[in-house]
């Protein structure tokens, strides 16, 4: 029995990638390298595969997106593959287009107001979940909590995609409309129009910088810089100044600590849970030294933005100006929404869920159903539901331990970028991705494909996320936990980034990512920091080694390894 029985549980019923069924249906399945590196745990994948796909479909339906009914995900051992549901019937497209127009109007007129309302809905949902006393709750209370968390997660993705689809659609339209004026999405004059918006992510960074500055002025610099990250807090507790500083840290975390270290999974802690995880960014700020004049920086970028917009508008015919300007404003939401929604959607929701699941994990471990609380990441909610009412009658080690072992073996392994019936990836992108016109998938998840120009003889080609050139030592970083290795003046080479990584952008000279397009987190933050940023290199982390000198020319999309 063993093997066949277990197969039934693996691991996301109904959503496991099955080439025989899935390839004929949608032809191409694209690997989501932005979100599933390292490969996802089963518990997270169960949520993500269902609800992120649902959010996309919900938004496509509510907005009546003309050529697209959202994407659907399949899981293959923690790797996410995306299939696009493209509408190909012209009459249906025409009908959807009419409704799409109507659905856009409220967003065009009051994007910020709608987002504020949705943000409030999310926060009150989280507050209810946080109010549950997990250790006093009965088993049945915990089961209800499990269901409530699942509902909250589903709703979070619905809200997430509405704002994204609208602002990204405007951004893509702008890209077209500026072409006659000699601009593309990669040109600085274009990118400057979207910089310097007020953004809560940077406000949090500023608070971290202030904590670093306080530590220096309180004479704690050596303790923070010279100890390994996990020992820093213990050492600080030994002195009065240290205790005082930790109080400041806790005050900060009470407000801003519902934030996961890793955006798309449950397996790493959130800030409030493990304050030591904010030590690396604070270290990064101390290393960087100097001032962090957020207001000054934002103001300068905002002035640059005003100028870029004015320069463009000066070329636009007079009668087109009013709507052109309104469109630029709407397109500008892509940058600020893209960063800010992460805080209120994924990072916060996942932190609340991590708290809840660890509570359930403690209960299961105490009953002997699993060996330790965080084995819960290797179960799925169906399996948890099966036992949670009276866990002492059940054993789930046979599932959890096997899956954990497998995940530890493969979590950093390379997976194929696409499974397709088409001749090659270019054809797959052309036929099964681009016709969806889904800016999110095209610009972030899969990204534009780099243009290989043999005459430039580059070692690696990528897409320009933020223009400029830089030369320096490479620092290859695969996970957030390694971030404190980054030194001032390094060139960061990584699979991709999320908002928790922003503090190191102040430390490095340039950023190179394996995956992500011109609207990926890496590109957006690179622009805000004015760093040369090369995205979607595909092979950056696997080709480059830490310490090698490299030269990045983001503007022309090339990277040279100087000492091979």
């Amino acid at each position: 029995m063993g093997q066949d029985m277990m197969k039934l549980w693996d691991s996301i019923p109904g959503f496991d990638f099955n080439p025989e069924i899935d390839l004929p249906e949608l032809n191409s399945w694209f690997f989501d390298g932005t979100h599933s590196v390292p490969l996802l745990t089963p518990m997270y994948a169960w949520h993500w595969i269902r609800h992120c796909g649902h959010g996309s479909q919900y938004s496509a339906e509510v907005l009546s997106m003309p050529r697209y009914k959202g994407f659907t995900f399949r899981d293959h051992e923690g790797a996410t593959y995306i299939g696009m549901r493209i509408v190909r019937d012209e009459a249906e497209i025409a009908e959807r287009t009419e409704k799409f127009k109507e659905a856009l109007i409220p967003w065009i007129e009051d994007f910020d107001g709608i987002w504020a309302k949705n943000r409030q809905e999310l926060l009150s949902m989280y507050d209810k979940l946080k109010a549950v006393d997990l250790d006093k709750a009965s088993n049945i209370d915990l089961l209800h909590h499990l269901w409530d968390m699942i509902s909250a997660h589903r709703r979070m993705w619905e809200i997430h995609f509405l704002g994204m689809n609208v602002s990204y659609a405007a951004f893509l339209l702008l890209e077209d409309l500026v072409k006659p004026y000699g601009l593309t999405s990669e040109s600085p004059e274009f990118q400057n129009m979207f910089r310097g918006f007020d953004n809560y992510v940077f406000k949090v960074d500023k608070k971290l910088w202030e904590l670093g500055k306080d530590a220096v002025s309180m004479g704690l610099e050596d303790i923070i810089m010279d100890n390994p990250v996990e020992k820093v807090i213990g050492k600080l507790e030994e002195s009065n100044a240290g205790k005082e500083w930790l109080k400041k840290l806790h005050n900060f975390l009470d407000v801003d600590g519902w934030r996961m270290v890793r955006m798309m999974d449950f397996d790493e802690p959130y800030w409030l849970e493990d304050p030591s995880v904010v030590i690396p960014p604070i270290k990064a700020f101390v290393k960087k030294g100097g001032d962090y004049d957020l207001d000054g920086m934002t103001k300068k970028l905002a002035q640059g933005r005003e100028k870029a917009i004015a320069d463009l508008l000066a070329k636009v015919p007079k009668d087109e100006k009013p709507w052109f300007e309104a469109l630029i404003m709407l397109g500008g939401k892509t940058g600020s929404y893209s960063e800010e929604h992460d805080l209120f959607c994924e990072l916060h929701c996942h932190a609340v869920q991590r708290r809840g699941f660890l509570g359930i994990g403690r209960r299961l471990a105490a009953a002997g159903t699993i060996d330790k609380p965080d084995d819960i990441w290797f179960l799925n909610p169906d399996e948890v539901e099966r036992v949670l009412g009276a866990p002492e009658f059940h054993k789930l080690q046979y599932i959890a331990n096997r899956r954990r072992k497998r995940w530890e073996e493969i979590r950093f392994s390379q997976v194929p970028p696409v499974h397709t019936t088409r001749a090659n990836i270019q054809e797959a992108v052309g036929m099964d991705l681009l016709p969806s016109a889904d800016a999110i998938i095209i610009k972030i998840v899969v990204g534009e494909l780099p243009r290989v120009r043999p005459e430039l003889k580059a070692d690696i080609y990528g897409v320009c996320g933020s223009p400029g050139e830089a030369e320096g030592p490479a620092r290859v970083i695969m996970t957030y936990g390694e971030l404190d290795q980054v030194q001032k003046g390094d060139i960061l080479v990584c699979p991709g980034t999320n908002p928790a990584w922003t503090p190191v952008f102040g430390l490095v000279k340039a950023v190179v990512s394996d995956r992500g397009g011109t609207l990926s987190h890496t590109a957006i933050v690179g622009r805000e920091y004015g760093l040369p940023t090369l995205v979607n290199t595909f092979t950056g982390t696997s080709t480059i080694k830490t310490g090698q000198r490299i030269k990045v020319n983001a503007t022309e999309g090339t990277l040279y390894i100087l000492d091979k």
């Binding site: 025409a94 287009t97 127009k101 856009l104 109007i105 339209l173 009013p322 469109l327």
Partner: protein, 346 residues
């Protein structure tokens, strides 16, 4: 058992009575409460209309008629004309039951007593629970209780004008609906009338107050058909900062049994129809109304030629100003069109 109260003085009403007496009446009540000079008058509730059609059997007759109509989707205007004629005559053809007649008459004669005018001239205005501009009827310069009762019935019946029936059917609301309240204020014997915006409806500039005015009754301004006078007042200092005296060749005046367009005498055509003193007074009241109502207002007023300033200024309506709708919508829908064209067909 005490009879349910179905007629009210304006000062007994407020915004919360919208569903009882209709929007216009509730507004006039609210304005009175705020201390704006509103012409004295009373409101007949929607409940009174319901009692009228019940006691006269009209409600059953209308229901039977509608049941026989069948599917109306896609009907042409002639069908709605026929329906309108039938339904309106069902209402207008009924005698007013004596008890209803008496309670309206009691208020009218009290109004005559209060104003000291025998058969005082009033307007009889429709008041639906939702604003449907231009949909229902209003009768001006109505004198004497018989005429008042006649016009009340006509206002009730105006819920069944062809355009109102077509509107409801096309919106899927059904043929029957829009039960109306009736506002009956004393007519202002207007020398001049006009409208005032406490925000520029086109540019959304809220530092100025705009006035438009014409000789005669307000209908000569609101219809927007004729050249009128325009004034701009600085909201802060209440100084007149702009003026345009229009060539006012027509205005609306009383006739024997109503009101109609008339020629403006030649010497008055190029003359400002209100004085600077009146302009500043109007702007000052509008400014404080905006403040107490918490938002920009679109207001109607009239200046009575029989009374002395400032007692001659009366306020007839105020509502939240719709701002820059035209400009904003066109930019938004243009963007929506472009996005839709890029991502869809069109």
């Amino acid at each position: 058992m005490a009879e349910e109260e179905l007629v009210f003085w304006f000062e007994e009403l407020g915004r919360e009575d919208n569903d009882v007496v209709g929007k216009k009446c509730a507004n006039l009540g609210q304005m009175t409460r705020m201390g704006l000079a509103v012409p004295p008058g009373f409101a007949i509730s929607i409940g009174m209309y319901e009692r009228f059609i019940r006691e006269t059997g009209t409600d059953e007759e209308m229901k039977i008629y509608v049941r026989g109509l069948g599917d109306l989707k896609g009907s042409g205007i002639s069908v709605f004309d026929d329906m309108s004629r039938t339904l309106r005559s069902l209402i207008e053809g009924k005698e007013m039951p004596p008890s209803i007649m008496e309670s309206i008459a009691a208020f009218y004669s009290e109004l005559c007593r209060k104003t000291g005018i025998e058969d005082v001239a009033v307007s009889v205005r429709s008041a639906g629970t939702e604003s449907r501009p231009g949909m229902f009827e209003t009768y001006l310069n109505v004198r004497g209780i018989e005429d008042v009762l006649e016009k009340v019935k006509k206002v009730w019946a105006s819920a069944y004008t062809a355009r109102a029936v077509a509107f409801r059917v096309n919106k899927g609301f059904g043929v029957l609906g829009d039960e109306l309240g009736v506002a009956i204020p004393k007519m202002v014997n207007a020398r001049a009338s006009g409208i005032t915006f406490t925000v520029d409806p086109v540019t959304a500039d809220d530092s100025k107050i705009l006035l438009e005015a014409n000789w005669g009754l307000g209908e000569g301004v609101v219809s927007g058909a004729e050249s009128v006078d325009g004034f701009v007042v600085d909201k802060e200092s209440l100084e007149i900062v702009g003026r345009h005296v229009g060539n006012k060749v027509k205005c609306v005046v009383y006739t024997k049994d109503g009101a109609d367009w008339a020629d403006v005498p030649a010497h008055m055509q190029g003359m400002a129809c209100i004085s600077d003193e009146e302009i500043v007074e109007i702007a000052g009241v509008a400014k404080s109304a905006e403040k107490s109502l918490g938002g920009p207002q679109d207001m109607e007023w009239a200046i009575d030629q029989d009374l002395a300033f400032p007692g001659s200024l009366f306020w007839l309506q105020t509502r939240p100003a719709k701002v820059a709708a035209k400009k904003k919508v066109s930019a938004s829908s243009h963007i929506a069109d472009l996005i839709a064209r890029k991502f869809g067909r069109g």
